[in-house]
């Protein structure tokens, strides 16, 4: 009875590159003879790749071709062809997510792009994805509590706060395990710019080319830990603002549990024999966190995934599905990275559309997003269809209308009647914001629903 979607998640991080395949099960959850209401009811990871070091051309530049080879090899190993995947996300995270790196990777992966949906994460989405991959959302739901997950990777720490299963807040800090790296002789090969700034102002004895001094490194790691503590309301650090990527946690959240994921979490949950093994401060930082106030002031929740949290999240937690009664022209699909034109005032659709369409490049296909009405009357429906058809007179692309309320199918027919020569997609049950981009995948087996990925683009 259940339909399935095969989803791929690819995480290209500062330190590691990983891939997972997961199966999303879609079932009808409506009662008895009601109109079907499809929902994702189960997620099953069917393949986890090895954990590869992200191949770099230099300290800051990803070797995109080498990344592509890794991914191709993992597809082959899993026995899955590119055509088999229905949906998924490529996530470029941490320090790696610089514009030139991301562009190179996306270009290298263009071979994949015709067949599945490519997405990239912003810091907020990345926090949520890794938190969900770590299972902190489920933990908070099952225990009826608030849980903050710290995903501490090579370059950044992404924090997501979940309150009884719902995402409540996110934050990101430039704190990670590969911000200081050294070679097998423990000679320092790299220090990140922000960390250099702290070292200079504090006069710590650490610099590139010199030997790694554990006593000095502990001082800088103490600062990192202090910043993390302050992020959840314990103590304060003069470097809090400096290390904050773009925002901290806002309100007083009364966090009860914390969990950790990312490579550094290995050093928190496990006893490590050789903390220098990976040529960076990751495992040392993990040990510091384990001994810190963070682990004393909060109860520690066990993560379901540590180093794989982001990739599992990308594979399993990025796809939504449309409502189950929708209207679409199959030849338009799939659609990728459509910018969203959000109508805020639905009593003046034409005016707002004509004003905002100027923000986009001429000829760009856009998705028009409306909240719509809960159980509209037929005349409400006709009026909105009329307004939209008036609005799009000067816009030549296909009509992609996305509603929050359940009205997609009826609206599709209403639009078709007004605009008989235009290609139309009208879907519902999807909430979008100004500035979002969406991908719309091919229909599922029975053709009743479309997979959708909503994203906020990273490169701003």
């Amino acid at each position: 009875m259940a339909e399935t979607l095969l989803s791929v998640g690819i995480d290209i991080g500062t330190s590691t590159t990983q891939l997972v395949f997961s199966k999303l099960y879609i079932e009808n959850v409506a009662a008895g003879y009601s109109v079907p209401k499809m929902a994702i009811t189960n997620k099953e990871i069917i393949y986890k790749s090895d954990i590869h070091f992200t191949p770099l051309k230099s300290a800051t530049e990803i070797d995109a071709d080498a990344v592509l080879k890794i991914i191709q090899a993992e597809y082959a190993k899993a026995g899955i062809s590119i055509k088999d995947t229905d949906t998924g996300a490529v996530i470029i995270t941490g320090e790696t997510a610089r514009k030139e790196n991301a562009k190179a990777v996306l270009e290298a992966m263009s071979a994949f792009s015709g067949d599945f949906v490519v997405a990239t994460a912003g810091a907020d989405l990345e926090s949520i994805i890794s938190g969900k991959g770590a299972g902190a959302d489920l933990f908070s739901k099952e225990r009826h509590t608030i849980c903050a997950n710290f995903d501490i990777g090579g370059g950044t720490t992404n924090i997501a706060v979940f309150n009884r299963g719902k995402t409540q807040d996110t934050a990101c800090f430039d704190i990670g395990g590969r911000l200081i790296r050294f070679d097998t002789q423990r000679k320092i090969t790299y220090i990140s710019p922000k960390i250099k700034q702290i070292i200079q102002s504090e006069h710590f004895g650490l610099s590139e080319g010199n030997l790694f001094d554990i006593k000095e490194a502990e001082k800088i790691m103490d600062i990192m830990v202090d910043v993390l503590c302050q992020s959840v309301g314990i103590g304060s650090s003069p470097y809090f603002q400096l290390l904050m990527t773009h925002k901290g946690i806002t309100a007083d959240q009364k966090i009860e549990y914390i969990s950790f994921s990312g490579g550094v979490a290995e050093g928190i949950y496990k006893n490590v024999e050789n903390p220098y093994a990976f040529g960076d401060i990751g495992l040392l930082l993990g040990k510091k966190i384990k001994e810190s106030a963070l682990c004393r002031e909060f109860k520690l929740a066990k993560s379901r995934e540590t180093i794989r949290a982001t990739v599992v999240g990308a594979g399993s937690h990025t796809t939504e599905i449309s409502g189950s009664t929708i209207y679409y022209t199959p030849s338009l699909l799939p659609l990728k990275s459509l910018p969203v034109l959000k109508i805020q005032d639905e009593t003046h659709i034409r005016e707002e559309f004509c004003e905002k369409i100027k923000w986009f490049e001429p000829g760009q296909t856009i998705a028009i997003s409306l909240k719509g009405k809960n159980s509209p009357s037929f005349s409400d429906l006709s009026k909105t269809a009329e307004d939209i058809s008036n609005a799009v007179q000067s816009y030549n692309g296909p009509i992609i209308a996305v509603f929050e309320e359940d009205m997609g199918k009826a609206m599709g027919y209403a639009l078709q009647q007004k605009l008989p020569n235009r290609k139309i997609i009208s879907i519902d049950n999807i909430r979008l914001q100004e500035g979002d981009y969406i991908d719309i995948g091919n229909p599922t087996q029975t053709g009743n629903i479309l997979p959708v990925i909503v994203k906020t683009l990273l490169f701003q």
Partner: protein, 299 residues
């Protein structure tokens, strides 16, 4: 009528409940001061109106006193329409929830035992016919009679729906007149719009008074229509009295097994919106015309 009376009664009771303490104090105070022998005081009829209790969102209502964890309770409650978190007065219900259940039941009963208004039937241009039943009471107790028509009514049916039509839409009161008045006029144009997009036009709509689902078989029998879609009021629950179903069948005739009908239930503003259900039902009709089948034969 009945509904209005009950509403007035409910309002009065709520009002008494809310103001009784206050009145007591005033009365005691006055009676102490009073030098006359009269035990009663003149009551002032105040301006104002008791708020509509049916507008309270019971999904969010929480009346448990000193709950250990209210937030989690509300979270749990949000997962079910069941009337949870209602507290108690001794081992009985609080007045507010008791009155709400009575109000919801009153709405349900009224929707069963009242008729679809003539005005509604006229406004929508429906052609009215009646089954063998002569009263609501007969309708409720004699399901057999609600499935058949007297000869003169069959004549009207024949005149309204041309023989061998592709699609006919029929509206029946069923067990909820309120459901028909709330949804039919929204669903039918949406259904017609979708059928029109596939070059199918639908003739006049029949309205059947005292209608059981099987009445569509009698209509199919005399008109030999390919697909009949019957919109009928569902037996109301307390959550809503306005839920409508669509029963759709390919060439319905007497003796049609129930499994050969395709059913869409739960059509109302809190379930599947009628306009959306209309487009969905129309697509099902198109599939039936193409596959020449309905119900389990369609799967």
């Amino acid at each position: 009528m009945q509904e209005a009376e009950l509403r007035t009664l409910v309002e009065e009771m709520v009002h008494k409940m809310l103001t009784s303490n206050e009145h007591h104090e005033i009365q005691i105070e006055k009676s102490v001061k009073s030098t006359t022998n009269s035990k009663t005081q003149n009551t002032v009829i105040e301006d104002g109106c008791i708020p509509d209790i049916s507008k309270v969102d019971i999904r969010k209502q929480f009346l448990v006193e000193n709950a250990k964890d209210k937030e989690t309770y509300l979270e749990m409650k949000s997962k079910t329409p069941a009337r949870l978190g209602i507290g108690k007065a001794g081992a009985r219900y609080k007045t507010e929830t008791m009155l709400r259940v009575r109000a919801d039941h009153a709405a349900a009963q009224d929707s069963v035992f009242s008729d679809v208004s003539e005005e509604f039937i006229e406004k929508n241009g429906f052609v009215k016919v009646q089954t063998l039943c002569n009263s609501k009471d007969e309708y409720i107790t004699r399901p057999d009679k609600g499935r058949r028509f007297p000869g003169n009514q069959l004549e009207i049916i024949r005149k309204t729906i041309p023989e061998h039509s592709k699609v006919a839409i029929v509206v029946g009161d069923g067990l909820s007149s309120a459901a028909i008045e709330a949804n039919a006029a929204e669903m039918i144009p949406s259904m017609k719009q979708t059928l029109q997009a596939h070059q199918i036009t639908v003739g006049p709509v029949l309205f059947v008074k005292y209608c059981r689902v099987g009445a569509m078989d009698a209509i199919g029998e005399v008109t030999d229509t390919d697909v009949i879609c019957l919109l009928v009021g569902e037996r109301p629950g307390l959550v809503t009295a306005e839920s409508m179903s669509a029963y759709i069948a390919y060439k319905p005739k007497h003796g049609l097994p129930e499994a050969k009908r395709t059913v869409i239930s739960n059509i109302h503003k809190g379930g599947t919106p009628p306009v959306e259900a209309g487009a969905h039902a129309a697509e099902l009709i198109l599939t039936m015309l193409e596959k020449k089948a309905s119900g389990i034969d369609l799967k």
